[in-house]
Amino acid sequence: MKREAMTTRALRAAAAAALAAAFGMLSACTPSGGAIFATIEQEDETVESNLPDTVSVTDVLELRAGGVTSFVAVARTLFLGVQSTAGDNASLDWKALSLSIEETPGSGVTTPSPGSTCRSAVLVPGATAETDRIFAVLAAPPEGGETTALYRSTPPATIAADELPTLEWSTAVSTGLDGRPEGVFLVNGELFVTARTSTVVTQYALYHYDVSLDTATVVIALTQVPVADGAFHDSAYWFIAGNRLYTGALPGPFALTADTTIASPAASYGGVHASDTTLHLSTGDGKLHVRPAGGAWTASAALTLTSDDAALSFTDFASIGTGAGEQVFVGSEGRGFFRLTGGLLDQEALAAARMPDRTLSELYAGTILGFVRRSNVIFVRTAGAGLWHQVVDADLPLKGWVWD
């Protein structure tokens, strides 16, 4: 009798808990959505490639190799991606590239270095494909630690089917570059290198690297965090480092912006981008700023998705098209990305501006680290969901994303 009573009580408790969970699920979500089954029915399967799903990509380089559409995804490993099937949004066949590094600078002799990793890489285009050069910060692991150095390589001129070329890296002579290189940027066709200039205190500098002279000149000194992004707008370079915005023209140095309307925000800057006519700036406290050429900055209010949500933390930008057809997008942490109207967003239009299709949850609810535009392909770099791409012409369709 006693055991029966205990069993009965346990079953009643389980039923009560299940009911409570059901009502909790209902109350936790605002009733909405009127086409759930139709949405499920109309979903198409995500096209996937063979890049690791969670790889963290810092950039994508486009190779001009013998008519084959090919890219290099820059992560700790470099991946060569070749379009394997025809079609605008065909998947890419990705393979990890092996690194062969010049051990003795200037020797011209490279040896395979399987333990080396890539911190950052950019492709500096030459007059022809044969004069293109890839500059990278590679970390080679000697015993007891890692050292980084700036290297250069010549991208392959042709890529045959099923061929996996080896990139051979020679030390990039960089007179004037002090400290340990951390990253490289290509802005307005000019190469910039960030370097940590002190191992005692946290101190960084930004250098302009002249590829024809192999010399580096400091343009931003003594920042506490490395430069994260740069743009060229209104005949000046604009770089962000933490919550500092620097601007200037070559040969430098660049100065901290004196505009108090955007200087030193409470949160770090997320990204800086020059679209056709406008400079865009985002911050981690939910604000977007725009500046037309020769004009003043205009800012949005701190934007949130819902009234009880924290402010959106915006990241980097992308733009497609020009003039009246231009579209600008800004990424965010954990909320996908948004299509801007006039470079800004207002709170009422925010939900409708969110992209992409909400059923693509890896992007819709993902952290967008940044965008890379290569010809008519736009790549989206995410944190934890790898790399995505889509071929775009004049518009960015909601479908057609390929998960690399």
């Binding site: 959505g33 089954f37 499920i40 979903e43």
Partner: protein, 212 residues
């Protein structure tokens, strides 16, 4: 006088024989008598076949796979694109007659779409069942009607739900039964002419019933 003496003589002659006979047979008689005393009487066999009456209650837990069948729109039938999912439920029922029981059920299911998003449904329904018996088996034919909470990505909606079903249970003892159910889920999702869909799913679950 003679008769008495003859009798006395006969007794004297017969007594030893009687004594011997008694000594030989007495143990047998004693053993028989003892056996009849020691052998336990078989207990009365308890009645195992339960009879349900008004007020008898049942708790039931079920778990098993759920098969998404198809979506019906106003213009035709289409595949759901969902994977094979899972379902489970808790029920409480009470008998109103020996064949009919009514109760409440709370359940849940999950399945994955083509883009690996999760469809969740939590039906809350009132249920009635007519129980056919062929001891030790029971065959309930049931109908549940209620509300269904549907969640997909960040959308939540509440639809009606109708769930006819059949089952077969084996009565392990008076208290416990175990069996198999097949329950059809019909979920009308009304949302305009183009987006209205009727969801059709089939639940196949194993159950344990506690009768009290």
């Amino acid at each position: 006088m003679l008769t008495c003496s003859v009798l006395r003589s006969a007794a004297r002659l017969c007594a030893p024989a009687v004594l011997v006979l008694w000594l030989l047979l007495a143990p047998g008689f004693a053993a028989t008598a003892w056996a009849q005393v020691a052998k336990p009487q078989p207990p009365e066999q308890p009645l195992l076949q339960p009879t349900r009456t008004l007020g008898d209650q049942v708790f039931q837990i079920s778990v098993g796979p759920l098969v998404p069948l198809f979506f019906q729109s106003l213009s035709g039938v289409s595949a759901t694109g969902l994977t094979l999912g899972g379902a489970g439920s808790l029920q409480w029922n009470a008998y109103v007659t020996k064949e009919v029981r009514v109760g409440l059920e709370v359940g849940g299911m999950f399945a994955f779409s083509r883009r690996r998003n999760t469809l969740l449904m939590v039906p809350l329904s009132a249920k009635a069942a007519y129980v056919l018996s062929a001891y030790p088996f029971e065959f309930p034919i049931s109908l549940g009607v209620g509300l269904n909470i549907v969640k997909y990505v960040d959308d939540v909606y509440v639809d009606p739900i109708v769930r006819p079903g059949i089952g077969v249970y084996w009565q392990y003892d008076v208290t416990w039964s175990f069996g198999l159910n097949m329950v059809y889920w019909w979920v009308p999702h009304i949302s305009g002419a183009t987006d209205t869909r009727f969801g059709n799913f089939l639940e196949i679950t194993l159950s344990a019933l506690y009768n009290f």
